[in-house]
């Protein structure tokens, strides 16, 4: 009789890293659907270009590093879709490909691939484009079912409108998503559906999204009560821009966020404060990307100071 001898434990839970990645893809389907509804084939085009670029880049770099490429582990697919969803709808193909390539190479592979990167690869790709091609990255097109009047060739995001023209987009439209913005960030509703799916399936920890959203809500409520003519309401802050997408899909990337429960709460509060500060007092209308990237950088430090107390000490 041939018996297999392995070390304990002999039981393993069914959740695998690979399935976690594909769960994220499933959770993004409502967001993808809405972006297709709003921007028709532009959405599909940007997602496909990003997917192809990310997968090819991942494959080449795994080969170069002498690893068996496993594109179906899903991590590159998740990065690709997330990157596409934070691009302006009319981004040219070369821009999408360049950003996706940059994200995979400098956001992930140079650190050693899956599990070793410090910063969120999709955000690295976007941050690079933001620095290199700011015009392209801040040119927004009208969604098919725009909420307001058309008074120019290009559209502005609700945060841009608010910051530079003091036009406040009604929360209803922010919630549904028929406003200007990146492909996947505009519909809070679609993102919340996906986010709850991930929470219910226990793919992500509630601590990060809850602490981010709560921090932004509390800070904006406070300032809004003090000076309502100068500051915007908590609901506006919650549903405008990339906050929802960032809180549920970017700041919950396990690789680049703290490993302790307390650390995750600190991380979320940090992101929330930075978002609030950049939006209100910074030069840019939106700050979710930089807030998450900055807190990614703090993650090792947060981990170190939140090591749990030794049992029995």
């Amino acid at each position: 009789m041939n018996l297999i001898v392995t070390e304990s434990p002999h039981l393993k839970a069914s959740l695998t890293t690979r399935r976690m990645m594909w769960e994220v893809v499933i959770a993004l389907l409502p967001v993808i659907f809405v972006s297709w509804y709003l921007y028709s084939w532009d959405a599909i085009r940007v997602i496909l270009i990003s997917l192809i670029t990310c997968l090819i880049t991942e494959w080449i770099f795994l080969k170069l590093r002498n690893r068996t490429p496993d594109l179906l582990d899903g991590s590159a697919v998740v990065t690709a879709i997330l990157f596409a969803l934070i691009m302006p709808p009319e981004s040219p193909n070369w821009l999408v490909a360049l950003g996706a390539f940059f994200g995979i190479v400098f956001g992930k592979q140079v650190f050693g691939g899956l599990g070793y990167n410090i910063f969120n690869p999709a955000l690295i790709g976007r941050a690079f484009l933001m620095a290199a091609y700011p015009t392209y990255m801040t040119t927004w097109s009208y969604p098919r079912h725009f909420w307001g009047k058309i008074d120019g060739l290009t559209c502005a995001t609700p945060l841009g409108l608010a910051k530079f023209s003091h036009v406040v987009t009604p929360v209803k439209y922010l919630f549904l998503g028929n406003v200007g913005g990146s492909l996947g960030e505009t519909s809070a509703l679609a993102i919340i559906i996906g986010g709850f799916y991930l929470l219910i399936r226990r793919v992500i920890d509630w601590r990060i999204p809850v602490s981010i959203l709560l921090t932004v809500s509390i800070l904006s409520l406070f300032t809004w009560i003090i000076a309502p003519q100068k500051y915007f309401s908590p609901l506006f802050h919650l549903f405008a821009g990339g906050l929802m997408l960032g809180a549920f899909f970017m700041a919950t990337d396990p690789v680049t966020t703290p490993v302790t429960k307390l650390g995750r709460i600190i991380f979320g509060i940090g992101v929330g404060i930075l978002v609030f500060v950049i939006r209100n007092w910074g030069g840019l209308p939106e700050g979710v990307m930089y807030s998450i990237l900055i807190m990614n950088g703090f993650t090792p430090l947060i981990n170190r100071v939140t090591i749990p107390k030794r049992f029995g000490k």
């Binding site: 297999i4 002999h10 393993k12 599990g115």
Partner: protein, 433 residues
């Protein structure tokens, strides 16, 4: 009562409901009794080949303080003494007895007779009966019952939480022999003399809770129901759950004023004191998806797995993994020619279906291992440190506190052999000392 927030929930009752009712004894033709079945020094044999022996007779004497006597689990002739397979130590010196019957009948003493025994007399009986902790560790019980006198013991905890999923030996014992278990508990009570006696049982064993509550009626023993969660039955976690006390690193329960005894040990104590019967058999859970007659049986110490399988009607499905103990901490065996020990609470037989192969992925720092660790360790960090040869860092992360419960590896989505890495680090640290 406090809950264990760490640990993992594991689906129980996945195999055919074990046979309930009075457990059936399995009488073997032959037993192979290892001299090392407990924590501490192996016992020293006092018999020779071809000698005739009675059931229950002493065949190996304890050597030193931390050791235990070993008795013949069947009567007959000693046919061999030599090196044989051992489920934990790979190989060990063992005494082989051919069963020539007859089985002994052990008559019960009256309660009054037992009540007249002093604490020291009781300890002597427990010592000579070769009783060791039957939850799994096998620490000699008479040593455990005598903590250093500077520690005041205020609570005696009787552990009725099955140490692992899929095992039901403790549950069956409490369901079928509650009064005997309580008699054993009372003996321990008399020896330890604590303020409180708590019997802890998990809430998936309703019947056992009921029976034990009945047996404890009008006695100063409290039966406490705990939510089922692995590793509730681990000594340190049980004390934490019940008393909110944490046993210090490297410490023992008596450091926080507690003594923990398994229900199986209490039953063995009852038998030793009331029936003068040494520890020669125990309840063993047979489970998995390979044997038709899964259940809990009285098995003589030294019975080979191969004979158990034969007695239970063979395999209905070919096993590819045979585990001594539970699925989380049990030891996979390379052969069926291994004997049941005093500490063997269960034997699991798994077919291919239960032994899937997983591809190992890089750690994605999802921290599930950290969330579930009952000792509040950082399993992935320790494993990483060991993997890169940085044993000092592993030590800094308190790898030595790990009890190898396996929760981290169970939950790991990247299927990293965390426990193996941590064990490696621990062994390195122990060797250095």
């Amino acid at each position: 009562m406090s809950n264990l927030s760490s640990g993992v929930k594991i689906k129980e009752d996945v195999f055919s409901e074990p046979h309930r009712g009075k457990p059936v004894p399995l009488i073997p033709e032959k037993v192979v009794i290892p001299l090392s079945q407990h924590t501490g020094k192996p016992a020293r044999e006092i018999v020779s080949k071809n000698q005739k022996i009675n059931e229950g007779e002493l065949i190996a004497e304890k050597e030193g303080v931390i050791s235990a006597n070993i008795h013949a689990s069947v009567g007959g002739k000693i046919i061999d003494i030599g090196n044989f397979y051992h489920p934990v130590n790979k190989r060990s010196r063992a005494i082989v007895i051919h069963n020539a019957g007859p089985t002994e009948t052990w008559s019960e003493m009256k309660t009054e007779e037992v009540e007249s025994l002093t604490k020291d007399e009781l300890l002597k009986i427990i010592e000579s009966a070769g009783i060791v902790g039957m939850g799994g560790a096998g620490f000699p019980t008479y040593v455990k019952l005598q903590p250093p006198s500077e520690y005041k013991i205020d609570t005696l905890i009787i552990n009725g939480c099955e140490c692992e999923p899929y095992l039901s030996s403790d549950a069956v014992l409490m369901e079928e022999y509650p009064f005997q278990v309580v008699k054993g508990i009372e003996i321990v009570h008399k020896i330890v003399n604590p303020k409180n006696v708590l019997v802890a049982i998990e809430d998936n064993k309703q019947e056992a809770i009921l029976r034990m509550r009945q047996a404890c009626l009008n006695k100063n023993i409290e039966v406490i129901r705990l939510k089922t969660r692995y590793p509730r039955g681990a000594e340190k976690q049980l004390i934490q759950s019940l008393l909110h006390r944490e046993v210090p690193p490297g410490g023992l329960p008596f450091h926080v004023g507690v003594i923990v005894q398994n229900v199986g040990t209490c039953y063995a104590i009852y038998e030793a004191v009331y029936k003068k019967k040494p520890l020669i058999e125990r309840l063993v859970t047979i489970s998995g998806d390979c044997i038709g007659n899964n259940g809990v049986y009285w098995v003589r110490i030294g019975t080979l797995v191969s004979e158990i399988v034969e007695k239970l009607g063979g395999f209905k499905r070919q096993p590819v993994k045979v585990i001594f103990g539970g699925p989380m901490m049990g030891i996979a065996q390379a052969t069926l020619d291994v004997p049941v020990l005093k500490t063997t609470s269960g034997i699991l037989f798994f077919s291919q279906q239960w032994v899937p192969e997983y591809r190992e992925y890089p750690c994605i720092k999802c921290a599930r291992c950290i969330d579930v660790c009952p000792m509040r360790l950082l399993p992935t960090k320790i494993a990483q440190a060991v993997k890169s040869g940085n044993m000092e860092l592993a030590e800094e992360y308190n790898a030595i506190d790990c009890m190898e419960c396996g929760c981290c590896e169970y939950i790991c989505p990247s299927k990293i052999p965390l426990v193996a890495y941590i064990k490696l680090g621990k062994n390195y640290m122990l060797m250095k000392k």
